[in-house]
Amino acid sequence: MLNLIEKEEIKLQEYNKKQKKVVLSSISSDSHTWNLIFMQLYLEKLGCEVINLGACCEDERVMAAIHHHEPDFVVISSVNGHAHIDGARLIQKIRTDEMLKDIPVIIGGKLGVSGKNNKQYVNYLADAGFDAVFDDSGDILSFENYIKNLIPYSSHSDLN
């Protein structure tokens, strides 16, 4: 009989074999899309199926897409400097939704309009409820490592 740790490991291996589904979006005030197009290609290269919601995505549309597609995780990419406002508001809405409160949500990009001082928003956004925050001064490999090591999140996962 398998012990608990082995069971968990098998679950993780099974999960890692499965194609991950990702909802990819900007924030409501951000009109940029090159970041989204690159991120889509990048996540696809990592083996993910990507639902790309495009520019200026309102909070409700992001939430509806998560409910509808039931992704493994959510990536928010923003470069207009308003992530510290719109991102914080979005994650608060996601975390107060009973169905979505545990889904991994990651945000990255230009988080504020203060250049190097944008680092101040990393902790702020993590405290607001994001699972990981990537300031644009970082390396994309740290993002990739994070994605690769994401573990199954939900108790209602089909692996149970």
């Binding site: 009109s31 899309t33 290609l41 520019a55 207009n80 250049g115």
Partner: protein
């Protein structure tokens, strides 16, 4: 002096009209910024760039941010209101200093009403160029909104005798990786749209792309087609310094700006909207903007005018642009409907544009000669030569794609970097 008159007089005196992108949340800072742009020896025009909340019509959030003192990425014109904006301009906007509002909105009725009431000289955008690249407003709603806005400008002119200048942003679809023929076709179609709805004082834009030779040919084509299609208007060409991923080094950014000033001189573009070395990192300061205006003006003065163009490129770009424009005009006698139908049917299709009303079946790439070409035109009436087909790259590889997106950054930064940046190495290895 009107916006256009300023630009034409400056051109005839052998100088370049230069303009920053500049938007500050507070009235005092915005006013100080405009004064700094005005009070120098350059032929400069003032810019008030609006913030992202105002652009998407979320004036409540803009007001809340003003009250909290949260910094916005531009001037919240509607939240401040026409009276506040008018008093900000008082004593700033004088005979030799027209001021333009730059906003990026697909539904700009509030913005137009406010900028007209506040007394601004000019604004910009267009039903396609401010809709498809920047949001999710349906194209037909944007077309209706822009028709109303053009009519507001026409009524204002009929009432006061003062024309407010309108610039098409059509030469900048997504800033990069849109081949010149489509940029030109959209600029011309938006110019026609403005004229159909009563605006005759206008300009057509073109954003610097990846090849000086190709850009020079493109602007020649744009000027020729403007003469052919927009007679009865008063128009000039405005050039935007590169709008894509920008060099990160001061030297690289400065060289790219200089190249755009040379392009303005060589092509006969009368006005240049500059970028600064801060572009890759953050919103520039007022002083950085002034330094760029000075640098561009200096380079322009010593650059050759009306350089010889590559006729083969002129022919190719001209043929494609004309084919696109005519295909659209043949779709419907009503231009508004023709434009909507053109996107619905994929006869116009902006590469990499995620908007729901864009077919997104076309693809562009940078070929081995450094020219921006079609990889696939989707359903657009454009033929692709065999030579091009042989040069396709792997478009689904994220780093090959990133390498293309960053080709200008790489080329201009290279002389100033001790070692190539890591993305470059990866892109080359994988390409």
């Amino acid at each position: 002096m009107s916006f256009s008159k300023f630009v034409f007089e400056t051109h005839h005196s052998g100088r370049l009209t230069v303009q920053p992108r500049m938007g500050l949340s507070s009235v005092d800072e915005m006013r100080q910024g405009l004064l700094a742009v005005r009070d120098n020896a350059l032929a400069s025009i003032g810019t008030v760039t609006l913030d992202s909340y105002t652009r998407v019509g979320d004036h409540e959030t803009a007001r809340a941010a003003l009250q909290l003192g949260s910094p916005l990425n531009g001037f919240p014109l509607v939240a401040h209101g026409a009276d506040v904006a008018r008093s900000m301009l008082d004593g700033v906007q004088v005979q030799h200093f027209p001021v333009q509002v730059r906003h990026g909105s697909a539904l700009p009725q509030d913005i137009f009403a406010t900028l007209i009431a506040a007394g601004f000289d000019a604004t910009e955008g267009g039903p396609v160029s401010y809709c498809l690249p920047y949001g999710r407003v349906p194209l037909d709603r944007s077309i209706t909104a822009w028709r109303e806005c053009c009519q507001m400008l026409a009524e204002h002119e009929a009432k006061t005798g003062k024309a407010i200048h309108l610039e098409s942003f059509g030469g900048c679809m997504l800033g990069q990786l849109c081949p010149p023929s489509l940029l030109i076709a959209i600029s011309i179609l938006e110019g026609l749209f403005f004229m159909h709805h009563g605006v005759r004082d206008l300009s057509l834009s073109y954003a610097q792309q990846v090849s000086f030779r190709q850009d020079l040919a493109a602007i020649k084509v744009l000027r020729g087609l403007a003469e052919r299609f927009l007679h009865g208007s008063r128009s000039h060409v405005v050039l935007y310094t590169y709008m894509g991923v920008f060099p990160r080094t001061v030297g690289g950014a400065s060289d790219l700006l200089a190249q755009s000033a040379r392009l303005a001189a060589a092509s006969g573009a009368m006005r240049l909207i500059v970028k600064t070395p801060a572009e890759a990192h953050r919103i520039p300061t007022v002083q950085e903007n002034i330094a760029s205006l000075e640098h561009a003006s200096e380079i322009y003065e010593t650059s050759p005018r009306d350089l010889a163009v590559d006729q083969a490129l002129v022919d190719e770009i001209g043929e494609e642009a004309l084919s696109l424009i005519e295909a659209v005009l043949n779709l419907d006698a009503d231009l508004d409907k023709a434009i909507a139908k053109a996107f619905a049917s994929g006869l116009l299709d902006v590469p990499y544009c995620l908007h729901d009303d864009n077919a997104n079946a076309s693809r562009a790439f940078i070929d081995q000669r450094g020219l921006l070409r079609w990889q696939s035109p989707g359903r657009m009436p454009i033929r692709i030569g065999k030579r091009q087909e042989e040069q396709m790259i792997d478009m689904v590889d994220p780093f090959a794609f990133l390498g293309m997106l960053k080709s200008i950054e790489r080329r201009y930064d290279a002389p100033y970097l001790a070692a190539p940046n890591p993305i470059f190495v990866t892109a080359r290895a994988e390409a």
